[in-house]
């Protein structure tokens, strides 16, 4: 079974600083997608960034970037120049390429709560 592990239940960062949230996953698949979602107190689930497993180049979206280490099955999220609005729960998620005739599930980690302080 595929599992996604986020070992940091809570993290804290000062405004304008950089923080890295860790994520590891367990799979025997070679083709899959990885995602980071953000859930602010409003409860809305917002896609932050995604990475294709067969692309070696790390994905970047403005202040958000990932460090994808396929061999280590690691997918960390780096937030640069942290802002107060970045305070939220962050979920790492994994979705494999399905085999013919089946559907694949998006599996979430347990989340990391990020606090941003002044």
């Amino acid at each position: 079974a595929q599992t996604v592990t986020q070992s940091q239940p809570e993290m804290s960062v000062q405004e304008a600083e950089t923080v890295t949230l860790s994520c590891t996953y367990d799979t025997s698949e070679s083709d899959y997608y990885l995602f980071w979602y953000k859930q602010p107190p409003s409860r809305q689930m917002i896609l932050v960034i995604r990475q294709e497993a067969y692309k070696q180049q790390n994905a970047t979206e403005n202040r958000f970037s990932v460090n994808f280490q396929k061999a280590a099955k690691s997918f960390s999220l780096k937030i640069s120049d942290s802002q107060l609005g970045d305070a939220a729960m962050y979920f790492c998620a994994y979705r494999p390429r399905p085999t013919t005739g089946t559907a694949s599930k998006l599996t979430f980690g347990t989340g990391t709560r990020l606090q941003v302080t002044l």
């Binding site: 917002i46 729960m89 347990t110």
Partner: protein, 117 residues
């Protein structure tokens, strides 16, 4: 211009009652999902439909019955509600040319907080 909308936003009900949560998406997606988020914030998939066909059916009590009248709607009906059903239920959608759309990100609704007393 809401993309994925769920109603109601909050639902408080007593044990034993039957309730429904509605979900609609206007993104033109062909796949829709129900996820449950428990009190520890853990998100777990319950069901997925592609073009009105059930394609993922996780191990959930058969008191939960999804219904998809068309590909833009996926409703969740819960019979004989129990205390353990209290959670936030998220509807989501994604696009895939075929049944399988693993590379398409999910777009989530704002969730329905269900409280069973």
């Amino acid at each position: 211009d809401t993309a994925v909308s769920q109603t109601p936003k909050y639902l408080v009900t007593q044990m034993g009652n039957d309730k429904s949560i509605k979900c609609e998406q206007n993104l033109g997606h062909d796949t829709m999902y129900w996820y449950k988020q428990d009190s520890k914030k853990f998100l777990k998939i319950m069901f997925s439909y592609n073009n009105k066909e059930l394609i993922i059916n996780e191990t959930v009590p058969n008191r939960f019955s999804p219904k998809s009248p068309d590909k833009a709607h996926l409703n969740l009906h819960i019979n004989s509600l129990e205390l353990g059903d209290s959670a936030v239920y998220f509807c989501a959608s994604s696009q895939g040319v075929q049944k399988i759309s693993y590379n398409s990100p999910l777009h989530f609704g704002n969730g329905t907080r269900l409280t069973v007393t």
